[in-house]
């Protein structure tokens, strides 16, 4: 953030009598932040410590402060070891599956949502409001509620055991469309006016002005959606 030019004279004019109280406050701020960081980090560090000792020891004594030498062999077991009969179901395979699901879901959802939001906001259409509400109602019923019929339909379409069948039903929700619609509405009207005066068509306006403008928005939604897809456990296990 750029500094407001006012800050320089103000800082110079500020009385110095409060310096001592201010430094106490700083120490207090840091104490709170350190406590918060410890609260957030300690459980994760505990998990890392547990991964360095043999599992028999964990079963006996639980987490401790001792750093063992088993980290790499434990990691190897977790990534390449398999507990299934076929031996194909390793940690690495699951990791790749999660990656495909997360990326496919995030990218697919953003592309579909960008197009839909653009159509709703920037075109004069007869059924724009109806389309918006049709999309918006999907927020009411999450996938968990309609999971049995969703599975049935995926099976009818022959999409079981495919990545498409895993990704497509997850895309059917409106969060991203709604976010993009809100963002497009806040983009200044003059941009589309200027573009039309310069005879830019709708497609050119979309790719040359709107998409570059919403880059940060796309990045933020990508992260949220990717984590959402990565953390899906219920639907893919169906």
């Amino acid at each position: 953030m750029t500094d407001f030019p006012l800050s320089a004279p103000l800082a110079a004019a500020a009385p110095t009598a409060n310096r001592k109280r201010l430094s106490w406050r700083k120490a207090f701020d840091h104490a709170i932040l350190i406590a918060g960081s410890l609260f957030m980090l300690a459980p994760v560090l505990m998990l890392v410590q547990m991964s360095t000792v043999p599992d028999a020891q964990i079963m006996q004594t639980g987490p401790s402060l001792e750093i063992g030498g088993e980290f790499w062999s434990n990691l190897d077991k977790a990534i390449f070891g398999s507990m299934s009969f076929s031996g194909k179901n390793t940690g690495l395979a699951m990791f790749i599956n999660s990656m495909i699901l997360g990326l496919g879901f995030a990218i697919g959802k953003i592309v579909v949502a960008l197009m839909a939001a653009y159509a709703i906001v920037y075109f004069r259409m007869r059924f724009a409001t109806l389309a918006f509400w049709l999309i918006f109602t999907t927020l009411l019923l999450p996938l968990e509620v309609r999971i049995v019929p969703s599975y049935e339909i995926t099976q009818k379409l022959g999409l079981l055991n495919t990545y498409t069948g895993m990704i497509l039903p997850l895309i059917a929700s409106a969060t991203a469309t709604f976010f993009f619609r809100q963002f497009f509405l806040s983009v200044p009207e003059e941009l589309v006016e200027a573009a039309r005066i310069d005879r830019a068509g709708p497609i050119r306006f979309f790719f040359d002005i709107l998409v570059p403008l919403s880059r940060t928005m796309i990045a933020a939604i990508f992260i949220i959606m990717f984590v959402y897809g990565w953390n899906q456990y219920l639907w893919p296990t169906c």
């Binding site: 407001f4 579909v112 003059e190």
Partner: protein
């Protein structure tokens, strides 16, 4: 706010083509299964799949008369309220402090956001370890105070552990939203609030909370609003030599009220300065006394 741009395009087929993928996915994977789910809620399914009998609202009546279901539903409500309250409160406190300190600010931010990358089942696994009956660190810790912690046996202890784990998992997301909201508050507003009250309490309650709060609800809309605020701030620049006594919130309100008068032309100019496209001769001149930098739209959020 209008729901369609004034200068909208008039193409007939393009919007339909644009809407088609979203609508077809929604119809196949949302409306169809949702309709089937609603329909089947009025039928009693044969356990071996040999047909179904229509039972009207019996399924619903049984659900709402079941004491167990009502207990579960009430606990869900209680759980949600507790997690929301504590995760918002702690995240707000940490965000305000992380915004206030200068030394080590980046480190704190990274450490506090880190847990966002941890999957919920892993958080549950960590909780089970922490509250293990035999050697769980937190079980031992509470044991020091004479609290015999029993996850899975005592309802209160189990609820406590669940809420603790969910709050832990929720804090980073709230922290990120709060911090981005706080950081986009112009320094001038903080300073105005500090002139009023040096204790640091009021800026949090009056000046900081309102924009950060809207940011949590509506990040995208808020960006526009902040962009305008920032702009009017520059506009106000010459008058600021004699700062008036105003609380942070009043100051923000005053700025917002000036937006329509400052005009959207200025906003447009700010956008032109952001993507570097307006560097040609058609670029609007930057008013004297203002740096080009201060007119740029922040895109790093």
């Amino acid at each position: 706010m209008p729901t369609v741009k004034r200068a909208a395009f008039n193409s007939r087929w393009l919007p339909i083509m644009l809407l088609l993928p979203q609508l077809s996915v929604i119809f196949v994977f949302f409306y169809w299964p949702a309709w089937q789910a609603a329909q089947s809620s009025f039928f009693l399914e044969d356990p071996f799949g040999f047909g179904a009998t229509f039972v009207g609202f019996d399924n619903y009546l049984r659900l709402f008369r079941s004491a167990e279901y009502m207990r579960t539903a009430w606990f869900t409500l209680f759980f949600t309220v507790m997690v929301t309250f504590f995760s918002l409160a702690i995240a707000l406190l940490l965000a305000v402090k992380a915004d206030a300190v200068i030394r080590g600010a980046r480190t704190y931010r990274t450490l506090l956001m880190w847990v966002y990358a941890i999957a919920p089942p892993v958080a549950g696994f960590i909780t089970l370890i922490l509250f293990n009956q035999r050697w769980g660190p937190l079980t031992n810790f509470f044991g020091l105070f004479g609290w015999d912690f029993r996850v899975g046996l005592s309802p209160f202890d189990t609820g406590f552990a669940m809420i603790l784990a969910s709050v832990w998992k929720q804090i980073p997301i709230n922290f990120i939203f709060f911090l981005s909201g706080l950081q986009s508050i112009p320094r001038a507003i903080n300073e105005a609030a500090m002139i009023d009250d040096r204790s640091g309490r009021e800026p949090l309650l009056a000046g900081d909370l309102s924009p950060a709060g809207t940011d949590r609800l509506f990040p995208p809309h808020h960006q526009h609003h902040l962009c305008a605020v920032r702009h009017v701030r520059d506009h106000r620049h010459d008058r600021a030599q004699q700062p008036r006594k105003q609380s942070g919130y009043a100051c923000l309100q005053g700025l917002c009220r000036r937006i329509p008068r400052a005009g959207y032309r200025r906003l447009l100019r700010a956008v032109g300065g952001a993507d570097g496209a307006g560097s040609g001769p058609d670029r609007l001149p930057v008013p004297a006394g203002r740096t080009a930098h201060s007119l740029q739209l922040r895109t790093d959020r």
